[in-house]
Amino acid sequence: MTTRRTFLKTGAAAATILAAGGLRARAENAPGITATEIKIGQTMPYSGPASAYGVIGKVETAYFKMLNEQGGINGRKLNLISLDDGYSPPKAVEQVRRLVEQEGVAFFFNTLGTPSNAAIRQYLNDAKIPQLFVSTGSSLFADPAHFKWTVGYNPSYVTEAHIFAKHILTTKPGAKIALLYQNDGFGKDYQSGLKAALGANASQIVGEASYETSEPTVDSQVVTLQGSGADVLVIAATPKWAAQAIRKSYDLGWDATRYVSNVSISIATVLKPAGLEKSKGVITGNYGKDVTDPKFKDDAGVAQWKAFCDKYLSGSEFADLNASYGFSAAQTMAQAIKQCGDDLSRDNILAQATNIKDLALPMLLPGITLNTSPTNYNPIRQLQLSRFNGESWELFGALLTD
């Protein structure tokens, strides 16, 4: 007869066996790994306000398809399940749970967007599932002390601000700095990064002005900043407002050295609207190759990217910076998986993703390499400064490292 007590005893025994099994399973491969396949999860905004980024997921899927045609990695095919989250955090949580609990993916790769990644981070860290190379520049996602399973990818806005500060201090010691920033996570990362890198020289920031993305122009902010007497202007703005700031500072006859954030370096959407002549001399930091730059006309890496686009995509992705970003991210992931060898436990997948050494990629600027370690979750920490010459971006100086 089963009494309550024997029932409990059996339950306890079963639990012990399960726990022991769990311990043994640690050295075994993660769920989603078979002898022939590696299942990887991803959410992307294929619909909704940020759908322009959807191309990243498309490129990555196509890249893994190419690898699979060549035999996969260490004999296993890569199966990237990339689902639409519409840039909505509740949807991202739902899709991630589906990928974990229904599809049984081994880990996540390049999930896109600050809000979506923030929403799924706790869940994935609680479950000890790697959330690798997330597609956002927010400094939130390189925090190994609190979120061990979440690894960043994009050079963070903080890195960029650090590098600008270093360059200002070496080329113009004693410069008076004005900062225009967008009032959100992106702009504030910039503000704090700049101050941190200036350190004792933070008092050199003589003027700061912020703007809301709902404001029609930033003209008055630029006028105020000029009034502060600064001779360096740092523009931490998204394209529309960056263009306005570049034009207004020129129109005012303000002879300041202007730095503009990497998110606003597109010639078509920023510098042309601002006026090419008025944009002359603007400085930015860069890490990827821009295929429209004549310098890369005969570049081997660009040729490789072109061949891939023609064969596996529609070809129109070639000049899209988001697309070539996806190409590089997929190659980074492939490298980490290659390093895993036959040990595809989640522990080892995380260990290898945070053990990337001097990885150079075809679509990254010459000299830029990716590095991660258990304490460094920002793979890209170098930028190449470039100056706009009225027609194109001209790389100058040495690579700067954060």
């Binding site: 294929y46 619909s47 909704g48 306000p49 959807g54 997921g57 498309k58 899927t61 196509a62 398809k65 689902l83 639409d84 519409g86 840039y87 909505s88 955090p89 509740p90 949580v93 739902e94 749970r97 589906r98 974990v100 609990e101 229904q102 967007g113 600050t114 809000p115 979506s116 923030a118 929403a119 706790q122 869940y123 927010s138 939130l140 009032n183 959100d184 996570g185 992106f186 504030k188 912020s210 809301e212 993305t213 709902s214 529609s314």
Partner: protein
Amino acid sequence: MAPEDRLEIWVSRAGWTLAVVVALAAPLSMNGYHLYQATQVLIYMIALIGLNLLTGYNGQISLGHGAFFAIGGYGAAILSSRFGLPFWAAIPLASSVCFVAGFLFGFPALKLGGLYLALATFALAVAAPQILSYKGFDAWTGGAQGLQIVKLQAPAWTHLDPDQWIFVVALAAAALLVWVALNLVRGRIGRALVAIRDHGLAAETMGVDAALYKTTAFGVSALYAGVAGGLSAFAVGFVSPESFGLALSLAFLVGVVVGGLASVGGAIFGALFIEFVPNYADRLSMQFGESAKALPGAIYGLLLIAIMGIAPAGVAGLARALVRRASRLSL
């Protein structure tokens, strides 16, 4: 009472009983992911019933219920993470704020009829995400970074895991709010709301205080959206301005129309539609290969058109028509 009416009531009761049985069985038979989806359905259902009280019964179109949903969500998140209030205090408090906000918004709405009201509420939906990321509120809202909320833990005696617990909480809230809504619409208040919708002037000559009913309908409707928003904040464990975009407000209106205007039960179908059809469209589009990533929107649109073609009065309207036909045939 006509036999078809009797049959209709019988079918409606059977439907509600079935829904309750399915809902009670859910936490025992579903895994975490499906329970999360089921919880989302309950949350949408609550919001849809609220919107239906306003739009379906009272004839006031709102394209801005995402904003009230956001107030409920942020309110609950702030009360729980900054003040340490438990969910059973945070959600009712946050939704009372929604009631006040909705009631006050009801006053300008009195002056705006039909399409003009739709536009004014549309503005509410557009403005909500920007107001939420406004720097002045950063200390409360977390700005563009959003707010994390600690997961709800079930009381020990229930032996439920967090997914089961939030489902049970949502189910209890939904049951209570369905009961309230059914009592509202089946009584004097419901008849007054419908009378105002059908002919405002005639309703007033019958002694209905149209202004009071309309503003209160707005308040109650916002309260429902607020409860849904608060539950959603706890279910997701995170709120950010992007959680409450324009698409959410539009989805609510789609849900109300698909479920059936002026029907409480129809909200279940509306909620199922807005939760599952986008996923289904996404999966269906995968059949067309990897380059078809733009297709889900098109498939979703086609399905919506198809449903409106088959059931112009929503699923509830279709069910009602089928019951009538069946009872006539059996006579």
